[in-house]
């Protein structure tokens, strides 16, 4: 797992979150985990295939998911329904799609799979045992979004 694989996701997250939420995101401390997992309450799970392949998980608290979904939909959400889940999934889709374009510019052409939303803490996604790089993105009043990237170059 190379650091150069996570940078496009951080850049994409910055531009997407700035445009969607109207805030200036800030980057937290980069960390490495032996495998990809999330301790967050709400996770967007996406697959990447192509010259680099693996998984990307965007994790956040339920409160953050509610705030982001409310902002995207344009009105406060009463329950986390299908529309709210779809808004959160679309956020993951937009960040990953924009990151894929940046990866392609570096020669790593890849495709992404439609996102899945998982609600529940301590979810471990077992795919291949490649280490994951984790970057928290601080979103001001919205809370924080944790980006977990576990990609490897296709042999």
């Amino acid at each position: 797992m190379r650091v150069e694989y996570i940078n496009p996701f951080v850049s994409a997250a910055y531009s997407v979150l700035e445009m969607v939420l109207g805030i200036q995101p800030e980057k937290g401390q980069l960390a490495m985990r032996p495998g990809i997992f999330t301790t967050q309450q709400c996770s967007i799970v996406m697959g990447v295939t192509g010259k680099v392949e693996g998984s990307v998980i965007y994790g956040m608290s339920l409160a953050t998911a509610d705030k982001i979904a409310s902002h995207m939909i344009g009105q406060p959400i009463r329950t986390f329904d299908a529309l709210a889940a779809s808004a959160i999934a679309e956020l993951g889709n937009m960040i990953t799609g924009n990151a894929a374009a940046l990866l392609a510019e570096k020669g790593y052409t890849c495709d992404i799979s439609p996102p899945s939303i998982i609600r529940g803490s301590n979810v471990k996604i077992s795919t291949v045992n490649t280490p994951a790089l984790v970057v928290p993105i601080l979103l001001g009043e919205f809370g924080a979004l944790e980006i977990n990237v576990s990609l490897q170059e296709r042999k």
């Binding site: 445009m19 374009a101 392609a104 439609p114």
Partner: protein, 121 residues
Amino acid sequence: MGKRILVTDDALFMRVTLKNILTQHGYEVAGEATNGREAIEMYKSLKPDLVTMDITMPEMDGISAVREIKKIDPNARIVMVTAMGQKNLVVEAIQAGAKDFIVKPFQPERVIESVQKLLGN
């Protein structure tokens, strides 16, 4: 009467967002398709004036759907609206027959500008 538009996206949120933007500007959303295959079927039955098309969708992707719709109607006006902004996909979509390519996230004005340009009003 407003021009009729078929919205294609697997994400409910995106269909609702596009529908709101379009209806607020006087367009009628004739139908909402959730994948490429549905878009082709709905294109045949609804004969919309314009189609918005996502790329990454289950069942059939948006670029394949553009090719099929263009076979049915070579004059079909299709605008890609997708999070996948790679150059190769833009080129592929335009070669398939798409008239414009909007990368998500977008400002509502970007969608309206594209639709107005293609529908001539």
